[in-house]
Amino acid sequence: MVHLKTNLAGLTFEPPLILASGIMGQTAGSLEKMIEMGMGGVVTKSVGSDSREGHPNPSIVDVETGILNAMGLPNPGIDEFCKELGKFIPNKPIIGSVYASNTDHFVGLSKKMEDHGVSAVELNLSCPHAEGYGASVGSDVGLVRDIVENVVKNVDVPVFPKLPPMSDMVTISQVVEDAGAHGIVAINTVKSMAINYETGRPVLGNLYGGYSGPGIKPIGLRCVFDVYKSVDIPVIGCGGVTTGRDALEYFMAGSSALQLGSSIYYRGLDAAEKISSEMIELLDQEGYGSLDEIIGLAHQ
C-alpha cells in the first residue's frame, strides 16, 4: 500500500493534503478540528494588518459546477488573530496566510506570523475580489518580486506565494523563484460573477466573486502544469480537488502537495480522509509504489 507523505521545503505533510486558506481557518478551534479530521496541514484565513468585516452578504452562491464566493477577506487583524491562535501549535504544519497591498506590510505580517510559531508563510497574491489586495498585487510582477524578496530576507520559515490563475504562469513563477520563494501555491479562485435572471440582479453583495470547486479543476491543472515546467521549487496544487482521482491528476501535473477548499462542502469535514483513501486505492490499482512516481508524470 502506498504511504501518502511528502516532504516539501523542509516540512512534512502526511497526508499531502492541506486545508486551503479561508476555509474553516478563522479560529484555533476550527483549525484544530480540521487536523483532527485528517488534514496533513492547515493554512490560516488570510490575515491583514487591520481588522476587516469583509463584503456584504450574499457572499456565497452555489452555481452547480462550483461555488462563487466574495467573502472579501474578513479577518480580525494580525494582533487579534495571533491572540486567537493563542498557544495552539498543532502536530501538523500550520501555514500563516497574509495579505497586504505593499511590501512593508507583507514583511511585518509575515514576521508576526513567524514569531507566533507558524511553520511557513503563504503570501496571498491572488484573491480576486478584494480591491487593492490579492490579485491586484499579484498582477504587478515588479511588486511581486519586491514582496517575495523582502519577505524571504526577513523570515526564516519557508515562504509560499499563492498565485492567481493567469494566461502566462511562466513569467510570474520564474519571478517568485528568483526572488527566493520556497514553493508556489496555485491557484486561488477565478474571478467571476452570478446573475439572477428572475430579479435581473447580480447575486453577490460585492458583484464579483471567486469561482472554486469542480468547475475550476481544468484551469488549476493547466496552471500547475505550467508552473511545474517553469521552475524547480515545489508546487502546491489547489483548485477543484474533490476526489482521489482529481488529486492524482494534480500530482501528475506536477504538484508535490495539494490544498483542499471547496471539497469541505462537497465531501464533508473529513474530505482529506476520504480523498486519501481514494488516492491509495487508485495508486494501488494502477500499480504505483510511491507518490513520488507520479509527481510530474504528465510531462513525459
Partner: protein
C-alpha cells in the same frame, strides 16, 4: 438543496409591533429548527428559521437592522431568494417536552411544538418576552399546549425571566428544547442539566456562507450552520464559548455578557 430559489411572498402577517411573518410557496421538506438563507435582492442575505410548515412555508422576522428592515418593507407579490434548508433541527425524543422560548426564538420553536404534538408528545411551553405586546405566537402555542408566560415588565404572566418559572415545570419532563437569547439558553441548559434532563438549544452566530466553509459561525470547533444550529447537551457541555462570546463579521470575539437577559 443549495441553489438559490426565488419565491414570491404570498401573505404577510404582523405578529407584534416588531415582528412579521412572511408566507411563500416553497417545495421543501425541513426539520423544525433548520434555517434558510434569505436574500433581499440588492440589500442583504440573512439566516432565518423556518417557522411554518403547511401548504405555505414561512419565516418570522424581527426588525433589528438594515436587512430585516428591508424585509419588513416588502409587500405581497415581492420576491426574495431562499437557499436551504440548512443545519440540524430538533430531535423530538421522549414523552413530555418542555419548550423554553425567548422573544423571536418562537419562530424556530413553533414548528417543533407543532410536530411534537402531532407525534403525540405532551408539550409544555414557557414563553418569555419583554412585554405583553411583544409576546410571539401566544395563541398558536396555546392551541397546541399548556402555556406559561413571563414578561420583563410584568405586563403578562410572571413578572421576571422565563428561566425563573422553568424550574417548577420540569416534573417528568424528558426533553427541554430552547431558543432565545444565548444567556437565557445558557441558564436553561444549567437548570435542566442539574435535573439530568437533556437539552437541545438553537444557537445563533454571524453567518456568511451557511454551508460550512467560511468558518464565521464556529463555536469552538463546531459550525453552527452545519452541526447546529440546534445543539444537544453533550455538545453544549463541551463548548467553552457558549454563553460567553460570539464573533463579529471580522471574526473578533465579542462578549455576550450583558447585565441583563433581554429578548
Amino acid at each position: 438543496m443549495t441553489r438559490m430559489d426565488i419565491v414570491e411572498i404570498k401573505k404577510i402577517v404582523p405578529e407584534t409591533p416588531s415582528i412579521k411573518t412572511f408566507y411563500f410557496n416553497y417545495d421543501l421538506d425541513y426539520v423544525p429548527g433548520q434555517f434558510v438563507m434569505v436574500w433581499v435582492p440588492g440589500v442583504d442575505e440573512v439566516p432565518m428559521s423556518l417557522s411554518f410548515d403547511k401548504d405555505l412555508k414561512a419565516i418570522t422576522v424581527r426588525k433589528i437592522g438594515e436587512g430585516t428592515e428591508a424585509l419588513h418593507g416588502l409587500d405581497v407579490g415581492d420576491r426574495i431568494g431562499i437557499r436551504g434548508p440548512y443545519g440540524k433541527g430538533y430531535e423530538l425524543e421522549g414523552e413530555r417536552v418542555l419548550a423554553v422560548v425567548g422573544g423571536i426564538g418562537g419562530a424556530s420553536i413553533l414548528p417543533a411544538v407543532t410536530k411534537a404534538v402531532f407525534k403525540g408528545q405532551e408539550v409544555i411551553c414557557a414563553l418569555g418576552a419583554r412585554t405583553l405586546n411583544e409576546l410571539l405566537f401566544y395563541d398558536r402555542f396555546k392551541e397546541l399546549s399548556e402555556v406559561h408566560v413571563a414578561t420583563d415588565d410584568g405586563s403578562a404572566g410572571y413578572h421576571g425571566f422565563v428561566t425563573d418559572i422553568m424550574e417548577d415545570l420540569l416534573k417528568d419532563i424528558d426533553l427541554v428544547i430552547t431558543c432565545g437569547p444565548e444567556l437565557m439558553m445558557k441558564r436553561v441548559f444549567k437548570i435542566a442539566d442539574n435535573h439530568d434532563i437533556p437539552v437541545q438549544a438553537s444557537l445563533e452566530r454571524y453567518m456568511k456562507c451557511g454551508i460550512g466553509l467560511c468558518g464565521s459561525c464556529v463555536v469552538d470547533g463546531l459550525r453552527v450552520c452545519v452541526e447546529g444550529p440546534v445543539l444537544k447537551t453533550e455538545e453544549l457541555r463541551k463548548l467553552k464559548e457558549f454563553g460567553e462570546y460570539h464573533r463579529s463579521p471580522s471574526g473578533r470575539k465579542v462578549s455576550l455578557k450583558r447585565p441583563k437577559l433581554s429578548y
